[in-house]
C-alpha cells in the first residue's frame, strides 16, 4: 500500500498495464513531450517511447478514430481527451463507431478501447470547459462508463477498463487529481465494474453518487450525523454497468434516497436512478427520491453564479432533511 494522489494512481494504472501488455498504447494531445496537461502521463514517453505514447495534433475526431480503429485491429489503445468537453468534437467516432461496431458486426469484432480524461465542473472555467456529460455516454448502449471518486479506485478501475474487451468511457475529475489516498501496490489489484462501494453505513437515508459527488455526500453525512441523522453513502463507481442491487438494498433499509451529481438535473443520471428506485422499491420509500444536481444552465463564469450552479454539501443536507420531514 502506498499513499498517492488520484492523478498518480491513474498514471500507475497506465504504467503497470503498459508493462504487462505490449498491445497497450496511449494517444492524445500533449501527453508525451509536454508530460500531460494535468501531468497524468508524466514520464511515460521517456519510459515507453513514441510508438506507445503518441502525441497527437488537436484533432479529437482523429484521436477517437485512431483509438477505435486500432482496437478493431487488435490493440488496446487508451486515448486521452484533454477534457471530456473536447470529446464533443468526436461524437460520431465515439457514438456511431466505437460504441456500435461490436453490435453491428453481430459480435464479430471486439473494440477494447479506453477513452479517458478529466471531466467535472468548477474553477471558473465557464460554459465550454466546465460540464459533466456522463449521461450522454451512459445513455448509449455499447459504452461502459466509469467515474472513480478515490485514488485506489482510479487505479483499480482503470486497470479493469484497459483489460475489458469493450469501449470504456473513463471520466476522471480534475478537481480530484490532487486527492491523496492509499493505493494497493499489487499489479493485479483490479476493481470490478458494476460493484458499488458503501462508503459510510447508515440507517436514515441513502445518498447515491459517484466521482466528486461522493465527497459531497460524505461531508453532508458527517454534518447530519452530528444531528443524529445517519446516512448511508453509496459510491456507484461505474454507471454502466450499474449496481442497482446495492442501491435498492440500502433504500429498503433506510426508506429514503437522495441522488447527487454535478451534471445537469434535467435528464441527468439522477433521473435514471430515481426511476429505478421508484420502479423497484416504491413501497419501501417513505418520501419521494430527491435529486441534487447542477443547475440547468451553461456554466457561468462569475464566482458567485458558478457557486450557485454547482451542488454543494448544504444542498445535500437540505435534500436529506426534506426526505425526513
Amino acid at each position: 500500500m502506498a499513499t498517492m494522489r488520484y492523478q498518480q494512481a491513474v498514471r500507475l494504472a497506465l504504467t503497470e498495464e503498459m508493462e504487462r501488455d505490449p498491445t497497450v498504447f496511449l494517444c492524445g494531445e500533449e501527453i508525451g513531450q509536454y508530460q500531460g496537461t494535468y501531468r497524468v502521463t508524466e514520464g511515460l514517453l521517456d519510459r515507453f517511447g513514441p510508438m506507445r505514447v503518441v502525441d497527437t495534433p488537436i484533432s479529437e475526431i482523429g484521436i477517437a478514430g485512431m483509438a477505435t480503429g486500432a482496437a478493431m485491429a487488435g490493440l488496446r489503445p487508451v486515448a486521452e481527451f484533454m477534457t471530456w468537453s473536447f470529446a464533443l468534437e468526436a461524437m460520431d467516432q465515439l457514438v456511431n463507431h466505437a460504441a456500435k461496431i461490436t453490435y453491428m458486426s453481430g459480435g464479430r469484432i471486439q473494440c477494447p478501447v479506453v477513452f479517458r480524461g478529466p471531466a467535472g465542473v468548477g474553477t471558473q472555467l465557464s460554459a465550454q470547459h466546465s460540464q459533466s456529460l456522463e449521461s450522454w455516454y451512459a445513455h448509449t448502449p455499447g459504452f461502459k462508463v466509469v467515474m472513480p471518486a478515490f485514488p485506489a479506485d482510479a487505479k483499480g478501475l482503470l486497470k479493469t477498463a484497459i483489460r475489458d474487451p469493450n469501449p470504456v468511457v473513463f471520466m476522471e475529475h480534475a478537481g480530484l487529481y490532487g486527492l491523496q489516498g492509499d493505493v494497493p501496490d499489487d499489479p493485479e489489484f483490479l476493481v470490478p465494474f458494476g460493484v458499488a462501494a458503501i462508503r459510510r453505513e447508515g440507517t436514515d437515508a441513502t445518498l447515491i453518487s459517484y466521482s466528486r459527488g461522493v465527497h459531497l455526500c460524505l461531508k453532508a453525512a458527517e454534518a447530519l450525523a452530528r444531528d443524529g441523522i445517519e446516512c448511508e453513502v453509496i459510491d456507484l463507481r461505474t454507471l454502466v454497468p450499474l449496481d442497482i442491487e446495492t442501491v435498492l438494498q440500502s433504500v429498503r433499509k433506510t426508506h429514503r434516497a437522495v441522488v447527487v451529481h454535478e451534471e445537469w438535473k434535467n435528464v441527468g443520471f439522477g433521473a435514471e436512478l430515481s426511476a429505478r428506485i421508484h420502479e423497484h422499491a416504491f413501497y419501501d420509500l417513505d418520501a419521494p427520491v430527491e435529486r441534487v444536481a447542477g443547475a440547468d444552465v451553461p456554466m457561468p463564469y462569475a464566482k458567485n453564479l458558478e457557486r450557485a450552479a454547482i451542488p454543494n454539501d448544504n444542498d445535500v443536507i437540505a435534500a436529506v432533511k426534506r426526505t425526513l420531514s
Binding site: 475526431i61 478514430g65 485512431m66 478493431m72 456511431n96 463507431h97 461490436t102 458486426s105 453481430g106
Partner: protein, 341 residues
C-alpha cells in the same frame, strides 16, 4: 459500331486466368446488385440500399492483390462489392441483406454494415467519412505490429466517396496519417455525385489529389472504369506502400449507373441532378463491357464462354437468394447479445 475496349496501360503481365477471374468477380457484383431492388420492392430487404453497378473495377482491380486477412479493407455503406471481393460468400452477403441469422453480421448490420473480419474485411460504414479516421487507427495498428510485435508489412485499404472529402474528420485523419506515415491505401471512389450533389456543387477545389498532398499523402488520379488501369496502379502503389510504409491516395474516377440509393432508383428522379444522356454516356465505359470486349478481342473468351460464366454467376445469385430466404431470422433472444463482447 466501334467497340469500347480496354487500352492496356502497361506491359502485359497478367495471366489469362487472372483476367477471367477479374471478369467473373465484376460480373458477380453486377448480377448480385441487379437482384436487390426486386427484393427491396418485395419487402424482403429493408432500410437503405446502395448499389455498386458501374464501380466494380474499383474493388476487382485492387482487393484480389491483397494479402487477406493480414491486410485490412474498410469502406462505406456501398459495400456489397467489397465484401464479395474480400471473399465473403454471396450467400452470406444476401442473407445479411435479408436480415437473416446466417448473414455475415448475423442479421444485425444489414446492407450498410457487411463485415467479415476472418477475411480481413473490417466492414462497411454507414457514415460518409466514417471509415477514414478508423483507417488511421487500423493503419497505426499495422505499423505498431510491424515495429513492436514482429508483424509483417501489411497494409490497410480504405474506400470512401467524393462526398467524404468535404467532411472534417477525413482531413483530421489525413493529417495524422501524413504525420505518422502509415501503410494505408486511400481509394477515393469519385462517382461524381455525393447523393445528388455533384462535385462541382460541393467544393471550390475539386482537385482531390491536391487535398491529399496538402496533408503529406502522395497520390494520383486514375480511370476507375478500366479495371486493368486500376489493377496496374494498385499493384504499383501497394508494392510502394509495403516498401515505404507510407500512405498513398488513389482517386478513381467512376460512375454509378443507378441512383444513390433505393430512394432515387427511377429515371424520373435522376433528372433532378443528372440526365439520362449523361448516364448513357458513362454506360459506354462500363468496366465489365470493356473487359469483356478485351477478352474477346484477345481470343481469351468467346461469347459462348462468356455466356457460360454469366449463367454460373446468375445461378450463384439465385442460390444466394434461395439460401437467404430459407435461412432463419435471428433468434429474438439475440436482441441483447453483442452490445458488449
Amino acid at each position: 459500331m466501334a467497340k469500347t475496349t480496354v487500352e492496356r496501360p502497361a506491359e502485359d503481365h497478367i495471366q489469362q486466368n487472372e483476367l477471367i477471374d477479374l471478369y467473373r468477380l465484376m460480373l458477380r457484383i453486377r448480377r448480385l446488385e441487379e437482384s436487390v431492388y426486386r427484393l427491396f420492392r418485395d419487402a424482403k430487404i429493408g432500410g437503405y440500399l446502395h448499389r455498386y453497378d458501374g464501380q466494380e473495377a474499383l474493388v476487382a482491380g485492387v482487393i484480389p492483390l491483397l494479402q487477406l486477412p493480414h491486410d485490412k479493407v474498410l469502406c462505406t455503406y456501398r459495400d456489397h462489392g467489397h465484401a464479395l471481393a474480400c471473399g465473403t460468400p454471396a450467400r452470406e452477403v444476401m442473407a445479411e441483406l435479408l436480415g437473416r441469422a446466417t448473414g455475415c453480421a448475423g442479421g444485425k448490420g444489414g446492407s450498410m454494415h457487411l463485415i467479415d473480419p476472418p477475411r480481413g474485411f473490417l466492414g462497411g460504414d454507414g457514415i460518409v467519412g466514417g471509415p477514414v479516421p478508423i483507417a488511421l487507427g487500423v493503419g497505426y495498428a499495422l505499423k505498431y505490429r510491424a515495429r513492436m510485435l514482429g508483424g509483417g508489412n501489411h497494409i490497410c485499404v480504405c474506400y470512401f466517396g467524393d462526398g467524404a472529402m468535404n467532411q472534417g474528420g477525413v482531413h483530421e485523419a489525413f493529417n495524422m496519417v501524413g504525420l505518422y506515415k502509415l501503410p494505408i491505401l486511400f481509394i477515393l471512389e469519385n462517382n461524381q455525385y455525393a447523393m445528388g450533389t455533384s462535385v462541382a456543387r460541393s467544393t471550390g477545389q475539386p482537385d482531390f489529389v491536391l487535398k491529399a498532398k496538402a496533408h503529406g499523402i502522395d497520390g494520383e488520379k486514375i480511370d476507375g472504369m478500366n479495371v486493368l488501369t486500376v489493377r496496374d496502379a494498385a499493384q504499383r502503389v501497394i508494392d510502394r506502400i509495403r516498401e515505404t510504409g507510407e500512405a498513398y491516395f488513389l482517386e478513381m474516377e467512376c460512375y454509378r449507373f443507378v441512383g444513390h440509393g433505393i430512394g432515387d432508383d427511377n429515371t424520373k428522379s435522376w433528372t433532378t441532378y443528372r440526365t439520362e444522356a449523361e448516364v448513357n454516356e458513362w454506360r459506354k465505359r462500363d468496366p465489365i463491357l470493356q473487359l469483356g470486349n478485351y477478352l474477346q478481342d484477345r481470343g481469351i473468351l468467346d461469347t459462348t464462354q462468356m455466356d457460360a460464366i454469366d449463367a454460373e454467376v446468375r445461378q450463384e445469385v439465385a442460390d444466394a437468394i434461395a439460401f437467404a430466404e430459407a435461412s432463419p431470422e435471428p433468434p429474438l433472444d439475440s436482441l441483447y447479445e453483442n452490445v458488449f463482447s
